[in-house]
Amino acid sequence: MKFNLLLLILQIGTVLVAARLVGLLFRKVLHQPQVVGEMAAGIILGPSLLGWVAPGVSAYLFPPASLGFLSSVSQVGLVIYMFLVGLEFDTRLLRGRGHAAVVTSHVSIIAPFFLGSLVALFLYPRLSDDSVSFVGFSLFMGASMSVTAFPVLARILTERNLTRTRVGTVTIACAAVDDITAWSILAIVVAIVRASSMHTPLWLTLAGSAAYLCLIIFAVRPALRWLEKYYENRGRLTQDMVGITLLLVLASAWTTEWLGIHALFGAFAMGAVMPKKSRFVHDLMEKLEDLTVVLFLPIFFAFAGLKTSIGLVAGPEMWAYAGLCLLVAVGGKFGGSTIAARITGLSWRESGALGILMNTRGLMELVILTIGLELGVISPALYTMLVMMALITTAMTTPILELIYPARLIREATIEAEEDEGPERYTVVVPVSLPSAGPGLLDAARLLLPAGRESKIYALHLERPSNTSMAEQQLDAPKDTAGSSAEALAPLLSHASEIGVAVRPISFVSRDIAGDIRDVARVKGADLVLMGWHKPILGQSILGGTVSGALRDVSGDLAILVNRGAGPWKRILVPYKDMGADRGAIDLASRLAESTPGTTVTLLHVIAPGGPKGELSSATFGDGVRLKLVESDNPLDVAVAEAKQGYDLIVVGASPTWGMTPSPFGARHEELARASSASLLVVRPMSRVDAAERRATRRSRRASSLPPPAARAQP
């Protein structure tokens, strides 16, 4: 078929749309890694769904004769991606992880490899043909069963904040060993298969490969340190350096392809030997990753999906074979890893978590299967069965991991409570979303601390999973905040050191921001959660989105600051109607007045006409508080009119009286916020029941002689 650029652009566009949409659906609705959705999108575009539901559209979009061009694009992308996977391989991950990691990783390879080869005895006469030798078939089955998807696994570990736990560190070490071992085994299998079909002596291929490996380890690797030094001298990655690196990747890929193992091994090997000590690799990943992951990988998934025809798995017999493949894959990898981890000293829960993580096959399995199909070692039906196995084992990881090692336990291990340190401290948790909002929130938090009490401030940044890239995962990063999380808290921490306030940073990846704010507040025993507000992409509501979730989930005192200008706040207005909803607003406004001399707080007490004079009196408060009593049936009108009198800050209770509730459908919703250009502090106090419970918990904790359960490590 003649090259058709219009068709290729149409194909790539379709693939991109499908991958992003299905990936988003899997991420948001099914809580799966994006890559699982992208893999599924590939299958959806293939004969299994699009070709079945709309054969005309499928034939128009993906005519068989055009797939060669799509394949070429995907292969180039895959070469670069395998280089990125190699870049992630760092021998430092193995240091200090002990012999347990080596034992576990080798058992996690040999067990599924053995079972894969065993099942080959049954499948070879049924799903293969005599153009494939049993040795090649069984070794390939073994290799395909024993692979672990290092990139997907690393992403799941990061997303679930497991990287700092014992399970996380051992799993990463095992996966790194698995990765290099599985690819080496596959290189040998490919060499065996190709040697028989190309009539090239096997020893020649193996000897050539060994010589090549020696060359890149002992000659290319030291030479690459010059590249790293050049980077350090320049302080940035230049286009020339990217060009040289890509050239090296292509040369390596070409050599391994020529040697008779696959081009992908060369790309992976070049990534693995790249120097990892400076930010060179990080910057290189940043340059190459987005285009590769967003554009090229979905094309590869689509190409893999176009080769996957679920129609080939027809009848109960074929489905039984598919089930057997899945059973063997899970039994070998999950079972083998779990037992080995348990024997080497991990608890059953930790071993199970490690086993299910190692069972993640993801993209790496697709790469191996595509090589197998291309070589003719596996038949189209077996390819389809193994693709389904790859998809299922990857998709099952997150839910089963949640079952074995719930996020609650991981979170509590990461953000554990601290032992009581003498007198009880007033604790404020400050969630920070935008880096620029951090210093303002810290200033407000400082002013809200009660006088005469010891206090603690935690700055919390929660990163959504979609925002973590391979480059940002930094699995060997220091144990405090890492990557973009560190950047998000940097302005706040820098401001804290300028003004001499001790702030403890906490950051992790979160799927449920409001729920995690609640948990951090609970575990840290927060007296107040002070969060900022920034205009959302859609809508204007102050109490919508994450704030609405926090109002629902956080049981303690909660304040939302809408910071509209630089302090200091000298004139503060507090509308007051009843003690239930507005108590918290009065408390915080009083503290602001106490902490900043010269501040005037106007307490606007609205009472019903002819009713009792109200429960407040000027005598209750200090000098800085002025009580203004107004009789009116409409407190909101009074508050709105008063808000226009040039105040710096309005402190208001989150109550329907003032139109400050999360529901956007209430009459005059957030009108008070719109009426004035002053900053706004919306306060939702802890309920009296929660407050009583909290006091009781603290009393019993102090009375107990045992240390609190999670006083193990400081994040």
Partner: protein, 156 residues
């Protein structure tokens, strides 16, 4: 030292048996026979091109008188190079190949297509020789065909 010895013993106990088992599997498996390979492209010879296009003019090969076989063990899918991209499901029993499928024929001839053939191999040369017919259609002639295996080309 004791810890290292313990780890080594655990390692050997866990890794050695499956490794030895693997060696046994490979040895044993070498004696297994897989179905004959018929996957790939087959070219109809000149004489049978017209005949294969015969069963009530159901199949037109255009300029590519080829049969494309995608094999998965004992089963395969045969794709004709006609405009309707007719497919047949194939079962392989040793050298015997039987298949069934459907293709609309001229003049309302819609009976199912069936294929009955055998694989003939001599040295490097392989051929499929057999018949293609519409079962149940008395007016449609049985088409005899012979197709030779085309040399494999690089797969994209």
């Amino acid at each position: 030292m004791r810890h290292i010895i313990k780890t080594t013993v655990i390692y050997l106990a866990l890794v050695t048996p499956p490794f030895l088992g693997l060696v046994g599997i490979v040895r044993f498996g070498e004696g297994l026979a897989a179905p004959r390979s018929i996957g790939g492209e087959w070219q109809l010879d000149d004489a049978s091109q017209k005949e294969a296009a015969g069963p009530c003019q159901g199949l037109v090969f255009d300029k590519q008188p080829t049969l494309k076989v995608s094999q998965s063990g004992l089963r395969a899918e045969l794709l004709f190079a006609d405009k309707a991209r007719t497919k047949m499901s194939i079962q392989i029993e040793d050298q015997h190949i039987i298949g069934s499928g459907h293709a609309h024929g001229a003049g309302g001839c819609d009976e199912p297509l069936s294929l009955d053939a055998r694989l003939e191999k001599s040295g490097d040369k392989a051929e499929i020789v057999g018949t293609l017919e519409r079962r149940g259609c008395s007016s449609c002639p049985v088409a005899h065909f012979r197709a030779g295996k085309k040399p494999a080309t690089a797969t994209p």
